[in-house]
Amino acid sequence: MSTDVAPAAPPAGAGEPPAVQLRGITKRFPGVVANHDIDLSVRRGSIHAIVGENGAGKSTLMKTLYGMHRPDEGEILIDGERVVFGSPQQAINVGIGMVHQHFMLADNFTVLENIVLGAEKLHGIGGAAARRIREISKQYGLGVDPDVLMEDLGVGDRQRVEILKVLYRGARVLILDEPTAVLVPQEVDELFDNLRQLTREGLTIIFISHKLHEVLAVADAITVIRRGTTVASVDPREVTSRQLATLMVGSELPSPEVRESTVTDERVLSVTDLAVHTADGRPIVNGVSFTIHRGEVVGIAGVEGNGQAELIEAIMGMRPATGRVVLDGVDVSQWSTRARREAGLGYVPEDRHRQGLLLDAPLWENRMLGHQTESPNARGWLLDNRGARRDTARIVASYDVRTPGIDVPAGALSGGNQQKLIVGREMSHAPKVLLAAHPTRGVDVGAQAAIWEHIKRARREGMGVLLISADLDELIGLSDSLKVIFRGRFVEDADPATVTPEQLGLAMTCAEGPDE
């Protein structure tokens, strides 16, 4: 394992300039240096992974390369020639394409329409464009049909459309930003096959990720970024994921695993025949029943959009639902969200910006949110601003929320710190049951470990947890029992002690037929 910054010498095509080369890139944002002295050399026809934990500066770097902002220092060379990008369009013109983590596709358009949107000048919007799409699809084995409506496609297909969209615009270098974040293991394998096919055809791929085993599986070269700079370039054949993790975080990677079981036989939350329907009567959650005991973490695995979000919202009382919800022996099925919260339901929402925070309000007001009727935030119908401020200072200190003060608006904090504030707020009211949806999504490794630790501690103290996560390692590591949800039903139970992410992924996707 070489930890020098010099690019790993390309054995094939020596003498040929690298497809992409970055020299001494520094990008300062007021007050912060997001990137400094980045050196990167990407060989043509290779898959080059850039790894680093959330907040290490990967995205800033890729935005620089994609022309979304200009570096303060350093230079970019494409095929050996110096370029300066003033806009993404200029990057696209020299053949750089970006596949964003969040798909930018219109559901009510066909694949064709989505692809030609904004690139109408290339091949028009009709037959010629469709022919070109089929051609590209065939050449790279993407299997994309231009005439299908977007909303009929699954996540993996959508991603292939995004890739095709970039290829259609003539990209020779593809930047993929966390492409596997939304995929189940089987889809990840398909994606990797696609990527290898692309490189065989001479394209170059820059693959941004923090999932080390995936990086090791697919990359030809790896560059590690930590705290804004490149700390190592390594050959994936010579490095283990443990070594890579150490390079990435500067210390050992935390693991969500819990050892001793703290499950008791006291039921703290029982859900019976819970069902949620859409406005037109289609079931989204379909007769779900389960029980959580004190000190137990029940994990729900499922591809996003199979009813897990709706299930949690129904238990919180935010969505009309049928069925029974019994919290600590009391039937709360007809209670309002507020009454349920007061009775001891804690909630870490899936989308903290949409459901967990007031981004323009200061931290101490956010500390009140969701508990604005409870001490220390309120006395009777009056707010206790002073009490809330004092308690916010406590949460900031003991949950390690990195902020200059409690009067800062929540929107100014990083995602990890926002999440720590939310977790701290919910834990501060000693919930009987915590409903945690993707509690560590988009947070850095340090915050992730801290959040896991808080959940584990509360579990030891007798809290029940309903955990939903797309991170299967987290799900398996934290849960005492696992349920697989598919199309609004629990289709399988799994034992977290024995199940592997691959088995779980299979259960999540192939659950429709009993023959599987």
């Binding site: 007050g31 500067g250 349920r340 007061e342 981004l359 309000a361 508990h371 009727t373 100014a412 630790e453």
Partner: protein
């Protein structure tokens, strides 16, 4: 615990300034822009802008003018607070006009009704205020109920209710119903209130023969109440939360429908007070001239950024402009220039506030970024620490 809070608060104070400064500068900048644009309009029409402004300032600061400005801004302020209550929850109450016309009419009619002859004046005044608030709330409540049960946009329904309210007022204000016609007058009004139910003025401005209407006290109370409600009550928190992020508010346990109802009732209740200053302090009867502040109030609420103090300043400014415009006619300067000025002020202020918000947000992020990245080059040491 307090040890933790103490050093942080000093940070917070410095931060607050960074956040506040752009927001204070924004209205000033907007005013300057508005003055500039009106100057251009004046120059085009061959008038000297400086002369116009200085005579406005001169006339607008006369004692009599100050009294008039305070009286006008009393009405503006109450109306704008009514609008702002809705704005705080992303509700657009365009129906203030209809709400206070109806409220003033009913309150005036009941206040002068013969069955109250036994009641002392003070009681009548209280009764008039309460009835006006109830009627205003009721009329706004119609829009709220429509929104909550049928999903009707309050923008549409409050506009419609303005027209309906106007028709009802016209219908009731006839001699067959609530109206009376004074001898030798074409005007139909409600019966004049007994003298002891007239609200006396306050000789607030020295040098002026006229008094400031007593209802200014109520306007101040409304402002204080609004400030207290927003910042110090659970209802106020729920209201603000719903306005800032409706989905987060719902997740926090706010009953969205109930909040719509409360906000509209409150807004309408305050709106019901708008016409009372004139009713109790000047005309002592409802006449068809009541009305027309609804849209002005929207502009003032925007200008004042829905804050209790901001709205007060905006109301005073508006009243000053309205008063000062009267001198322009005499000096043969078209007083429409004032309309231009008011319009551009609102427009410029909306743009300026948006800019200020962005600037202060960026400044905040910078400071957080700077403060958080301060620790040494490697924070792996504190990474694994978990508070017990």
């Amino acid at each position: 615990m307090s040890e933790v809070a103490a050093p942080r608060r000093s940070w917070a104070e410095r931060l607050d300034w960074r956040q506040l400064l752009p927001r204070l500068l924004a209205p000033v900048a907007a005013l300057l822009i508005a003055a500039l644009i009106s100057s251009i309009a004046l120059v085009i029409s061959d008038k000297d802008p400086l002369a116009a402004f200085s005579s406005m300032l001169d006339y607008g600061t006369q004692p009599d003018s100050l009294v008039d400005i305070l009286n006008k801004s009393t009405d503006y302020y109450i109306a704008a607070v009514a609008v702002a209550i809705g704005f705080r929850m992303n509700l657009f109450n365009i129906g203030v006009d209809g709400q206070y016309r109806l409220a003033t009419l009913v309150a005036a009619a009941v206040g002068a009704a013969p069955f109250l002859d036994w009641a002392p004046g003070f009681l009548r005044i209280v009764l008039i205020v309460v009835i006006a608030m109830l009627v205003g709330a009721f009329w706004a409540g119609v829009a709220a109920v429509l929104k909550v049960t049928r999903g009707v946009s309050e923008v549409i329904s409050t506009i419609m209710l303005n027209f309906i309210g106007g028709q009802i007022v016209a219908f009731l204000l006839t001699t067959n119903h609530l109206g009376v016609q004074a001898k030798g007058s074409n005007d139909v009004t409600t019966p004049v209130l007994p003298k002891d139910a007239w609200l006396s003025g306050i000789p607030l401005i020295p040098g002026s023969a006229s008094d400031v209407k007593g209802f200014v006290v109520v306007a101040v109370l409304v402002g204080v109440g609004y400030w207290f409600l927003l910042g110090h009550t659970r209802l106020g928190f729920d209201l603000r939360a719903s306005g800032q992020n409706a989905t987060s508010a719902v997740a926090s346990g706010v009953n969205a429908r109930r909040m719509v109802l409360y906000a509209m009732l409150l807004s309408g209740g305050v709106a019901g007070l708008v016409g009372l200053s004139e009713l109790l302090g000047e005309r002592h009867a409802y006449s068809s001239s009541v009305g027309g502040l609804g849209f002005t109030a929207i502009g003032i609420a925007l200008l004042g950024r829905n804050s209790p103090v901001g709205i007060a300043l905006a109301s005073l400014l508006w009243a000053f402009l309205a008063r000062a415009s009267q001198i322009l006619d005499i000096e043969e300067i078209p007083k429409e220039i004032i309309t231009i000025m008011q319009g551009t002020t609102v427009l410029a202020v909306v743009v300026a506030y948006e800019l200020a918000t962005r600037l202060s947000r960026r400044a905040q992020q910078r400071r957080v970024g700077a403060a958080v990245s301060e620790p040494g080059p490697d924070k792996s040491a504190d990474r694994s620490e978990v508070p017990a």
